[in-house]
């Protein structure tokens, strides 16, 4: 025999977050909102554009000294001129990035032109949307910042698990996002050099962390307008800038 009270409880709350293809009576898709929560609690990723290029930066936390410091897992090259940074489930991000890479080459093959950053970002958004509507799947537990320089100049897009795609001048995702956005709101300017863009990115990233622990590292990529080439900035080159910021933070 089914107890009326138990049945009611299930009907009121539980049932609408079991399958994502089902709306709640309030018109919400709970599973998608939970996916966004995964992004919110992920480690921070940020990106900004200046007139002279794109900066993508992420924090990566090594959990043990045994981990190789050379391996980056939150920042990806998608094409010559496009990169992506992620927050949330890294494994889900890799699937989207693989798809974006193939799509980018497919566009080159079909149209003999450099794919636009917008086309790639929209594609990622389209795939994410599919996983909010189909049965038997769950949404992606990740958001992507897709940045690059195409024939329209430097561009930055944000794609989230719902499939929403938005364009920004500067944006951040992950657990430090609030703090980074606050700094961006006050200090961001588009008409600065790429070097100044890198400095703001690093400053915001360091400021967003509560406590710098052993194994905390930064990965940073630039895509200058001058070269239109995805360029990973080596740890050695970042060190002098970071050291000052970290020292300041300790005091």
């Amino acid at each position: 025999m089914i107890e009326a009270s138990g049945d009611m409880a299930l009907g009121m709350t539980g049932a609408y977050d079991r399958a994502i293809t089902v709306f709640s009576p309030q018109g919400r898709l709970y599973q998608v909102e939970y996916a966004l929560e995964t992004v919110r609690s992920g480690s921070t990723a940020l990106s900004l554009i200046t007139d002279s290029g794109v900066v993508l930066a992420v924090e990566e936390r090594m959990h043990t000294k045994l981990q190789s410091p050379d391996f980056s897992w939150k920042i990806f090259q998608i094409d010559d001129h496009i990169g992506a940074a992620t927050a949330g489930l890294n494994s889900d991000a890799r699937v989207l990035v693989d798809n974006a890479r193939i799509y980018s080459q497919t566009l080159r093959l079909s149209y003999d032109e450099e794919p636009s950053v917008e086309a790639i970002a929209r594609r990622v958004g389209d795939i994410m949307q599919l996983y909010t509507q189909h049965a038997g799947v769950r949404p992606f537990g990740t958001a992507l910042l897709v940045g690059g320089v195409d024939r329209t100049g430097p561009r930055l897009f944000y794609a989230e698990p719902s499939g929403l795609v938005l364009e920004y001048n500067a944006w951040a995702i992950g657990r430090g996002a609030e703090k980074v956005r606050e700094i961006f709101e006050n200090e961001y300017s588009r008409s600065v050099s790429l070097d100044d863009g890198v400095k703001l990115a690093l400053k915001s990233l360091v400021a967003s962390v509560d406590k710098i622990e052993e194994g905390w590292t930064v990965r940073l990529v630039t895509i200058p307008v001058a070269t239109r080439k995805y360029t990973m900035v080596e740890a050695r080159a970042l060190q002098p800038l970071l050291e000052g910021l970290l020292k300041e933070k300790k005091q």
């Binding site: 890479r101 980018s104 093959l109 995805y230």
Partner: protein
């Protein structure tokens, strides 16, 4: 009868007992470099459809390909290879090694052997292992060589090449020899003609082509005229 071709069929039209590509392409390996030279004649049957057809193409900064056979097939293959080379590079952060490029091309061709890409290819370049040069046929066979000539002009070209080629030839001498081999086949092979393209991949500077000015003295030396 098959659209534009780098191809001349001296036998009855449609007779494919002899798969003859009416072109001359040359590839050779020297120290830290690979050199390519081709004629530029494009034919449709006995009609010269284009006098400045491009038969040597960069595949990336460190690899190149020469083509003989059906133009559409070869161009499609090149685009397919480029897409895969780029994808390899962004996914792995490494340049695709030359043997890998050759194997990939071979796989594409073998997989469609019952509806073949009608193209004879020379693929070459320089990777971390050094220079490599491969010969591929329309069905995907693959051999690594130091010296290759393909197309209807190849017997003439081989005659010139094999009398002087050495693996330790200086780069400039090797460029001259490649040019001279194609010049010789232009003179004696009806399927080859018009002008000569020279390209190279060097260990340090990557892919490059000889400019019109750089080719002028070579034309004067080996053809006694400068093509228009």
């Amino acid at each position: 009868m098959h659209g534009l071709v780098f191809d001349l069929l001296p036998t009855e039209a449609g007779d494919h007992r002899f798969l003859k590509t009416g072109t001359t392409t040359v590839g050779m390996v020297v120290r830290d470099a690979v050199i390519f030279a081709t004629d530029t004649r494009v034919t449709s049957g006995f009609f010269v459809a284009h006098r400045k057809g491009k038969k040597v193409h960069p595949l990336s900064s460190h690899a190149a390909i020469t083509i003989a056979g059906r133009v559409a097939d070869a161009q499609t293959l090149i685009e397919l290879l480029r897409a895969n080379i780029n994808l390899y590079q962004v996914s792995r952060g490494l340049k695709m090694p030359i043997p890998t490029i050759a194997r990939l091309a071979s796989s594409f061709m073998f997989n469609s052997r019952f509806f073949p890409y009608y193209a004879q290819l020379i693929i070459g370049g320089v990777d971390s292992e050094g220079p490599h040069l491969y010969n591929l046929d329309p069905f995907g066979s693959i051999t690594e060589e130091y010296l290759i000539a393909t197309g209807s002009g190849s017997p003439v070209a081989y005659g010139v090449l094999e009398s002087e080629y050495k693996t330790d030839l200086p780069f400039e001498d090797a460029v001259k020899l490649s040019f001279r081999a194609v010049a010789a086949s232009i003179k004696r092979d009806a399927g080859s003609g018009d002008s000569i393209d020279v390209a190279y991949v060097r260990k340090d500077s990557g892919y490059g082509e000889l400019s019109v000015d750089e080719k002028a003295p070579l034309y004067n030396l080996y053809l006694k005229y400068i093509p228009t």
